[in-house]
């Protein structure tokens, strides 16, 4: 069953020279209890899509959609403040920089106490004394802190990035969200810390039935965490499918490029040899390219690619390309 269903999402940026479209006619859905990956290059609009879903985008963006259903409730007609209020009770967000998403002037205890919803208050009268304190302790134990007192009395600046991300997850857990949006939380950590955070997200998904939208720009780092992958290029979903299919036989050349960029640690790789990388940059949103956006960087491009490729449906997914691989 679909938890989120968005039809025809369009995002455009207001500039002095008029509207610059970033996303056009994007259909997006997340099933219940699923981890969905949004994977694409930097500057492809992944973060904007996430912010549009959560309703926390900045003022200079214009967002419209035909239909938005969350948890079988239609919130298409609600205006932005109403939608934000509705979503804030159901969606939790993790950002790339864990320290920056906490208030630097409040201790962790204050922030966590403030964050607990009143609906979590126990019914029984004798359990109500100090329930917040106990609840916070339980939450911090769940994410793997042993010495909760030291964490609770610290300011975010005194903690490391990993600890802050863990606190973020604990705060998210406290609100009992239906959806967690993780915006690339592990990209600059060491492998050890990465694993801790990824395991936490996985257990959140398994034990608390939270659906997750995971945003990343590196397919190799986290591919097996996800159930379904959306590849994003130039604000469009260019390929969608289950993880196994994307990894084993990708159809779209962009997916292939991303897969090739996973470095190879095997004994066969010569040290200091050059990596395989297509040159060029992601096209600029202000000067949209003609035809397929991958155009100049695509190894399989031909004359037909001057026409925008249509969506082709395959089993469990789709791709947009004239010359697909592995079909």
């Amino acid at each position: 069953m679909a938890l989120i269903e968005i039809k025809n999402l369009s995002i455009s940026l207001k500039t002095p020279n008029g509207l610059v479209p970033i996303c056009k006619n994007l259909d997006f859905s997340v099933n219940e209890g699923e981890i969905v990956g949004l994977i694409g290059t930097s500057g492809a609009g992944k973060t904007l899509i996430c912010k549009a879903i959560a309703g926390i985008h900045s003022r200079d963006l214009e967002i419209s959609f035909d239909r938005y259903r969350f948890d079988n409730i239609d919130i298409t007609g609600k205006d932005l403040p109403q939608r934000r209020k509705f979503l804030s009770e159901r969606v939790a967000i993790m950002l790339q920089n864990g320290t920056r998403s906490l208030d630097p002037l409040m201790t962790i205890r204050e922030q966590m106490t403030e964050n607990l919803p009143n609906s979590a208050r126990p019914r029984k009268l004798w359990k109500r004394f100090f329930w917040k304190k106990r609840e916070i302790d339980i939450l911090l134990h769940k994410v793997g802190f042993k010495d909760t007192k030291a964490i609770l009395n610290a300011y975010p600046g005194e903690l490391s990035d990993v600890q802050c991300q863990k606190v973020n997850i604990a705060m998210a857990l406290g609100r009992k969200p239906r959806l967690l949006i993780a915006d690339d939380p592990v990209s600059t950590m060491t492998a050890l810390s990465q694993l801790q955070i990824l395991r936490l997200i996985d257990s959140l998904n398994q034990n608390n039935h939270v659906s997750v939208i995971y945003v990343s720009n590196d397919l190799g780092q986290i591919a097996r965490l996800m159930d379904r992958i959306n590849m994003i290029y130039y604000g469009e979903i260019v390929e969608q499918g289950p993880t196994e299919q994307i990894l084993k036989n990708p159809h779209h050349p962009f997916t292939k490029i991303m897969l090739d960029a996973i470095p190879d640690m095997g004994a066969g790789s010569r040290r200091k040899s050059f990596f395989k990388a297509p040159g060029g940059d992601h096209p600029d949103f202000q000067h949209p390219p003609v035809g397929c956006p991958l155009g100049s960087r695509c190894p399989c491009a031909d004359r037909e690619c001057n026409i925008k490729p249509p969506q082709t449906r395959v089993k469990n997914g789709f791709y947009c390309c004239h010359f697909p691989l592995n079909t």
């Binding site: 780092q221 960029a261 996973i262 095997g266 992601h282």
Partner: protein, 285 residues
Amino acid sequence: MAYTITPKFLQVKNLSVFFSTGRYFFLQKKRYALSDISFTLKQGETLAICGDAGSGKSTLLQILNDSNAASYEGEILLYEKNIRDYDRRDRVSIIRMMYPDPDTALNPHIRVYKILEMPLSMNTGLSPREIKKRISVTAEYVGLREEHLNCYLHMLTDIQKLRLSLARALVLRPQALLVDSSVEKLDAVLRMDFYNMFLDLQKRYRMSLIICLNDLCAIKHLADKVLILDHGKAEEFGRVEPMIYSPRSDLTRRIVQSYNHEYRCVHSAAPAVARPLGVITKNSD
């Protein structure tokens, strides 16, 4: 340049960086951001610094670049001469840093051409024609086009800003390049593009590189030596292969072991990652 190529390009001996906290001098305490770090680097070698956020990677780079006001103990020797004894102009054309956050590090009021020209006209005695030529060569090398030189900073995309930041470091033809973790945040494809550029620079000009890297694969591929930092202390320093195959410190072993975690997708053609890890677990038990 008049420097002879000595094997010892950069030596850092017992470097400790500290901040003084407390208002009055008798209440002051030293807080160490980095303590007791030593390493040596030959010319043309790459040093990878690995560590979490807050472990002192950036502080170390800033101290080497002399852009951090914190006081430090210990010695930094460049060509066997203390870095404090250098004239600023000389030092700047030996060690350059690629700033991680171009939005705040570069001047938004002047054109890109001027941004690239400034370090040249301030630190070298090149004629305007030479300056122009060098700028266009450098810009082309990092992948900026001719028309970008007339833009202002806000007209470039984030990636182009990063390329500009690299170009600004390279116009002076330095012998060592310091790269903060900015490249790590890029997507996999562009990251490879930057790594290729670094490799090329190293092959052509024997440039030394000091990079913040967390991806063990990339470390193994790019770096000769690796320094692992944890909360300001050096956990391990040494060549890369021994670090991966027989790590000495506990933290390093845990990092290496957890690299190949269950969520990572590794090429099917590379089973060799699992093998050394297996060896390590046997040794450690």
